[in-house]
Symmetry: C2
Subunit: 155 residues, 2 copies
C-alpha cells in the first residue's frame, strides 16, 4: 500500500454511500493521478438502467474526460469492492497503473474470487492490491441488503 | 448457429466498416431482440477518447436505452471479434442470452484465447459461439493494419 491509499479509499467509500442514498448497491470508486482525484463514480445501474453503470466504469469514464485521453497512464483506481470481470477488464483497457480495492466479492469478483482476469497475458499489466478498508465496505453492503430485506418484508 | 445469425453478423461487419472509415480498429457489434436490431456499435476509442468505447459496450448501451432496462433478457450480441475481458464481462452483466463472434483474438480474447471469462461461475451464463464469418472480420482487420503501416512508412 502507498501513503495516500487510505485517504483515497475513504473517498471511494463516500461514493459508495452516495449509491446507498439512491437505493443502489453501495459500491464506489475514484481514479487518482498525481495525488488528485480525476474521476469519481458510484453504482447507478438501476438509476440509469445501463448494464455497465458500475462505479469503476463511471469513474474511469470521468477520468478519461478529465484527462482528455483513453489512456489513464500513471493513475490508480480505488474501488470499495473487488471488481467484476467487466470492471477488471476496463481497468486493463484504460491502462491504469494500480487498482486498490476493499472487500472481496465471492460472487462476482475477478481477482481472488472466481477467475483472475488480471492473470491473463494482455497488453497491459495492472498492479492489484485488495483488502484496504474492506471491513468498512463490507459493512456498508451488509447494512444495505439488510435494510432491503427488511423493507421487502414490510410490503 | 441459428437461422438469422449470418444476417446479423453481416450487420456487425457493416458496423466494423464504419469504424475503419473513421480510422478506428474495425470491430463492430449489434444487439438483437426478437429478430430486430436494438443496439449497434463500432469501436470509437480514439474518436471519443474513452477506454471503454469498444463496439460491444456501445451496442449494449444503445440496447439498454432502446429497451429501457439494463437487463437484455433474450437478446443476442453479435460481434466481429472475440471479446476482450471487459466486453465479455459486459455481456454477462447485461444478461444477454447469446453471444456470437467472428474471428478469434489471440492477443486480447477472453473466450478461447487467453482466459475464458465465460467459464467463471457468475450469476448469469451466456451461450457463446465463435467463428461466424470470422474470415471476413479477420480480413477487415488485416487490411486496416496493413494500410496503417503503409501510411506510417510514408511519413
Amino acid at each position: 500500500m502507498e501513503e495516500m491509499d487510505h485517504h483515497f479509499m475513504l473517498e471511494a467509500l463516500e461514493e459508495a454511500r452516495k449509491a446507498a442514498r439512491i437505493d443502489e448497491v453501495p459500491i464506489g470508486a475514484v481514479v487518482v493521478l498525481d495525488g488528485k482525484i480525476v474521476g469519481r463514480g458510484h453504482n447507478r445501474r438501476e438509476t440509469l438502467q445501463q448494464a455497465d453503470a458500475h462505479a469503476e466504469i463511471l469513474a474511469i469514464r470521468e477520468a478519461c474526460e478529465t484527462i482528455g485521453s483513453w489512456r489513464l497512464d500513471g493513475c490508480t483506481l480505488y474501488v470499495t469492492l473487488e471488481p467484476c470481470p467487466m470492471c477488471a477488464g476496463a481497468a486493463i483497457q484504460s491502462r491504469v497503473k494500480r487498482l486498490v480495492y476493499g472487500a472481496k466479492d465471492n460472487k462476482n469478483g475477478a481477482h481472488v474470487s472466481g477467475i483472475n482476469v488480471f492473470a491473463g497475458e494482455f497488453n497491459h499489466e495492472v498492479q492489484v492490491e485488495g483488502g484496504l478498508l474492506g471491513e468498512d465496505s463490507r459493512r456498508l453492503l451488509l447494512d444495505f441488503f439488510k435494510a432491503l430485506r427488511s423493507s421487502r418484508d414490510k410490503v
